[in-house]
């Protein structure tokens, strides 16, 4: 046995329930037995540490990965990754992926009859700096239809994958754009039942981040779990 400080549980309503019938794919994939409680040990408070060696200097810029520039509205997406106590999460890998401006993913399974853009793949990554800051340059993704229900459309979003300092702080989520009229119709966005928690998935337009004559700036901060102050027997 060793004493380790674990990570705090999120408040109820923060995360979606696994079984969210309005999102049809959960029906056969949501576990139906209760989760087994696990107090955190070294196995949970440790996690993969990424050096900078895997991330290239242009990996954060999704508009400069091909010969030409992608079509669409160029944007900067940036923010801070912090823990629940407001401390910066430094040197941590952030991965993103998204569809193009027409709402089409570079993926064989995407059957949406919208054009692919030869100048846009839609995958990027970066490592947070000493203040926990990440920054991507990309184009605004389009809305797209999906087969969940009659006339189902996803609001524009960027997928985010974050690790944080521990296996217990892993977070995969989606960032949305402010004021999207599809929010009211999207069971994935609405799977977060607590409206205040849902709003934390929405970036805001920030004119201080907007670069004149070049790109709109969006600010989106991510908060990972905070750590218990006192170690417990684990």
């Amino acid at each position: 046995m060793s004493c380790v400080a674990g990570y705090r549980r999120e408040p109820p309503g923060t995360h979606p329930e696994y079984l969210t019938p309005e999102y049809r794919s959960t029906l056969l994939r949501a576990p139906d037995r209760p989760l087994v409680p696990l107090s955190h040990s070294l196995s949970e408070v440790t996690g993969p540490i990424y050096g900078h060696e895997r991330v290239g200097p242009l990996d954060h810029d999704l508009t400069r990965r091909h010969d030409g520039e992608p079509l669409g509205e160029r944007i900067v997406v940036t923010g801070f990754v912090r823990d629940g106590d407001g401390r910066p999460v430094r040197d941590s890998l952030v991965e993103i992926w998204q569809c193009n401006a027409a709402g089409r993913y570079v993926h064989a399974a995407d059957r949406h009859p919208a054009p692919l853009d030869p100048n846009f793949t839609g995958a990027g990554r970066c490592v947070t700096d000493a203040e926990g800051r990440y920054r991507f340059v990309t184009i605004k993704p389009g809305a797209y239809p999906w087969g969940n229900h009659e006339n189902a459309w996803r609001p524009a979003h960027i997928h985010f994958s974050l690790f944080g300092p521990a296996f217990a702080t892993r977070l995969v989520t989606q960032m949305y754009f402010p004021g999207d009229p599809l929010f009211a119709h999207d069971p994935i966005f609405r799977s977060v039942r607590e409206p205040a928690a849902r709003e934390r998935l929405v970036a805001r337009l920030d004119m201080d981040l907007t670069e004149p004559e070049w790109a709109l700036g969006y600010r989106w901060d991510v908060v990972l779990r905070g750590r218990d102050a006192t170690p417990v027997e684990a």
């Binding site: 995360h15 979606p16 329930e17 949501a30 409680p37 040990s41 070294l42 992926w97 995969v172 990972l224």
Partner: protein, 181 residues
């Protein structure tokens, strides 16, 4: 500060998250290399062909490559990060080449697992334990806490023709034990 909610990884991560060699934690030619593979199934028993399985484990000495592992007396191996990532194929299969971890601080040797997929609005956590560690498994705090023998044994891999087999059943009578981490 309030944490950011989780959302599903969706069906389209395949060109972004997997990376070359993600499923090889060690060189398959290494003498100590073992293979752990399995299939992800949904509640209807159908394979899940669009899942992503991630693993995190200690090295053979039971040490994690992480600053919060205080046991400096245990060796680290330069080439071993302890992390792996493998998307499932069309038949729902995944496989990792790794080493058997040592015991960690009062726990039987185990590999920590995260499962991500379309239809999972949050990641699922589980663990892989080893079938040749009956004594250590019997003393493991997590395994001991699971009263249902079938649920408990869902965390123990079984020997197969070319390595250990660890199938993941997302739902139903054979559901894998998932952990509230």
């Amino acid at each position: 500060m309030d944490p950011t909610p989780s959302q599903t990884v969706g069906p389209f991560f395949d060109y972004a998250l997997p990376y070359a060699g993600g499923e090889r934690l060690v060189d398959p030619a290494a003498a100590e290399a073992i293979r752990i593979g399995g299939t992800v199934f949904d509640g209807a028993g159908e394979p899940v062909g669009d899942a992503l399985v991630e693993v995190w484990q200690a090295n053979r000495a039971g040490r994690y490559r992480h600053p919060d592992d205080p046991r400096a007396e245990l060796p680290l191996e330069d080439s071993f990060t302890g992390f792996g990532r493998c998307p499932t194929d069309a038949q729902g299969r995944f496989a990792f080449t790794t080493v058997k971890p040592g015991p960690v601080a009062g726990q039987a040797p185990h590999v920590s697992v995260i499962v991500l997929a379309r239809g999972l609005l949050r990641q699922l956590y589980t663990r892989i334990y080893f079938p040749d560690e009956q004594e250590a498994n019997a003393a493991d705090p997590l395994l001991r806490s699971i009263a249902d023998p079938a649920l408990r044994s869902s965390l123990v891999a079984r020997p197969g023709a070319d390595g250990l087999i660890f199938d993941i059943h997302l739902q139903g009578d054979r559901q894998t034990a998932f952990l509230d981490v």
